[in-house]
């Protein structure tokens, strides 16, 4: 009994000590009192130096929190209980959030830097006139491959994935829209298809791909491709850029039948406590130098033309990551298909997965 009592007291003392250390650290970083701007973003999706710079320039204190999926982020915002001033959802999530009345309109007069953004990325169907959102990064879905592990195949067409020589060599992303979309694209259908027959046809076609599929995974795809564990992967362009940065053998291609074009935009959730600060932050992030530094750090494609002028020519002229407008015409943005249809996609994807073992 004595030992238990002693242990209990020891634990409590340790906690109190740690609490004071934390309190001290909190104060010494000199940000206990100022107005805070709470930012809710994907992990490692911003250059942390920029946060400090923003704090210095604006006088606001930044509280930075991270999420790992659009859906989880929406659940948090919808339930309330915590106030985020900025969030960075993908385009289909913005549509859903608009429908559920989770966003505040953005006052364009407070965002003079909006003129830095390429007009191509403004006024898109998921948010006409950019009433609720401002572009942050964008990209595509394509195929990253390792020519050193292949005998000369290239991937101008989705069809190349079905090649018999690729047995057990392909990694797919764990996303129903991406994988079913690939099936639809390879048949020449729209990746927003809601036609039952087209979807069934896509599933049948995907089931024939099964022998070639090594695994269906998430973000670990980067590590695996860099380590040359697999020869081919279906992935997002931003992630492909990360991989190619680390392993120069790798190449990236967007098949000509078409693929997905995606956007991550900054929004102000309805629960925002510091709307003024949120606008200041958005405007800050759209500044040419800031956006250029951020794009260099994160490695994704920036929609900010003023920033592109400041960036390395070699990066921004790379058609694989900054495809020209003609090439972009071939790409489709995900429509919000509604929960019912999303359920159908997921059910088909589950069937595909179950067929693998």
């Amino acid at each position: 009994m004595k030992e238990i009592t002693r242990s209990v007291i020891a634990i409590i003392l340790v906690c109190i000590a740690l609490f004071f250390v934390n309190d001290y650290l909190n104060k010494s970083s000199g940000n206990a009192s100022n107005d805070a701007v709470t930012i809710y973003n994907w992990g490692e999706y911003i250059d942390p130096e920029l946060l400090t710079q923003f704090e210095e320039e604006s006088g606001y204190r930044v509280v930075y929190e991270t999420f790992d999926s659009n859906e989880a982020m929406m659940t948090k915002i919808e339930q309330g209980g915590t106030s985020y001033d900025i969030a960075v959802p993908s385009e289909y999530a913005i549509e859903t959030m608009k429908e559920n009345d989770l966003l505040l309109p953005i006052d364009h007069s407070k965002i003079p830097n909006l003129t830095n953004v390429d007009p191509y990325f403004l006024d898109l169907s998921f948010d006409p006139k950019n009433k609720y959102s401002v572009p942050y990064f964008w990209g595509t879905v394509g195929i990253v491959y390792n020519p050193a592990l292949l005998d000369g195949q290239t991937f101008e067409s989705w069809e190349a994935l079905w090649d018999l020589s690729l047995k057990g060599q392909i990694l797919l992303v764990d996303g129903s829209r991406e994988v079913i979309g690939m099936g639809l694209n390879s048949l020449g259908y729209s990746l927003n298809s809601t036609d039952e027959n087209e979807l069934q046809e896509a599933l049948d076609k995907l089931n024939k791909l099964t022998p070639n599929v090594k695994a269906i995974i998430g973000d670990e795809v980067t590590q695996l491709m860099v380590n040359e564990e697999a020869a081919v992967a279906l992935t997002w362009s931003g992630q492909a850029a990360d991989m190619m940065w680390e392993n120069e053998e790798l190449d990236f291609s967007i098949p000509q039948e078409g693929s997905n074009l995606w956007f991550d935009n900054m929004v102000i959730p309805k629960t925002a406590a510091n709307v003024e600060g949120a606008h200041a932050f958005i405007n800050f992030m759209l500044g040419a130098e800031v956006a250029a530094q951020n794009a260099d750090y994160v490695g994704y494609s920036t929609p900010n033309v003023a920033a592109i002028d400041l960036m390395d020519e070699e990066v921004t002229s790379d058609e694989r990551f900054y495809p020209s407008e003609e090439l972009r015409d071939n790409l489709e943005v995900y429509n919000n298909l509604g929960l019912e249809m999303l359920g159908v996609y997921n059910e088909l994807f589950l069937e595909f997965k179950m067929g693998m073992n």
Binding site: M1, E3, I4, V8, I11, I12, V14, C15, L18, F19, V21, N22, L25, N26, S28, S29, A36, T38, W42, G43, E44, Y45, V63, Y64, E65, T66, F67, D68, A72, T75, K76, Q79, G80, G81, T82, S83, G218, D219, E220, T222, Q223, V226, N227, D242, E246, N247, V298
Partner: protein, 267 residues
Amino acid sequence: MEKTSKFAKIYLALVFIILYAPILYLILYSFNSGGTMNSFDTFTWEHYAAVFSDTRLIMILINTVIVALLSALIATIVGVFGALGIVFMRNKSLRNSILSLNNVLIVSPDVVIGASFLILFTMIGVKLGFASVLISHIAFSIPIVVLMVLPKLQEMNSSLIDAAADLGATRKDILTRVIIPFIKPGIFVGFFMALTYSLDDFAVTFFVTGNGFTTLSVEIYSMARAGITLTINALTGIIFVVTLLLVIGYYFVSQRGKKPVGLGVRK
């Protein structure tokens, strides 16, 4: 006899090698100047320097430790008394139903627990942050404590308690002098398992946290999309070495000048 003990040693060595292999692998790469876990370039301390210059990361670590220790402690106390309550229940079917309820949180996927706790907290009006995370961690650690304490309680000979009562021991005496010492190994195991649950949890914490409060797990998981930096490896290395030293140090201090003490003592 000689032969079995040699086999035992080899067997245990193998188990320990496997248990520690991934951790040593992580630590090895924390010295990699290459910046990723992919190929080892040259030796560097830079990631360790990065840990100490990142105040935010250190604060998150401290938060994580506070939540883990406090939640495990409280969960152990609640769980031990819960287990006592269950064992002394006369009604067998009631006892079994309570036991089933106890295990619901172990079987439920974290996402479901997280989402329902979030709904619960917003309904009651608890502000998301330290308190909500602590309460949740206590909540999902209680069942494992009960599960670990129960076998010890069931082994306890009830004649032991009757004998103590016959000798005039008060209720408090029976609890602190007879029951608790007997189930102590179970209590410690329960505490350590609760600690494991708390340190490892990502999904539940993710849902119930907010207002700037984060734990290490949440931070690490959300880094996955853009790649986990080796700073985290270095942090893991530090945590690992410190924990190891603390545990070994504590063990030998508590051993010194005392009769065998520790988890499994029998009195």
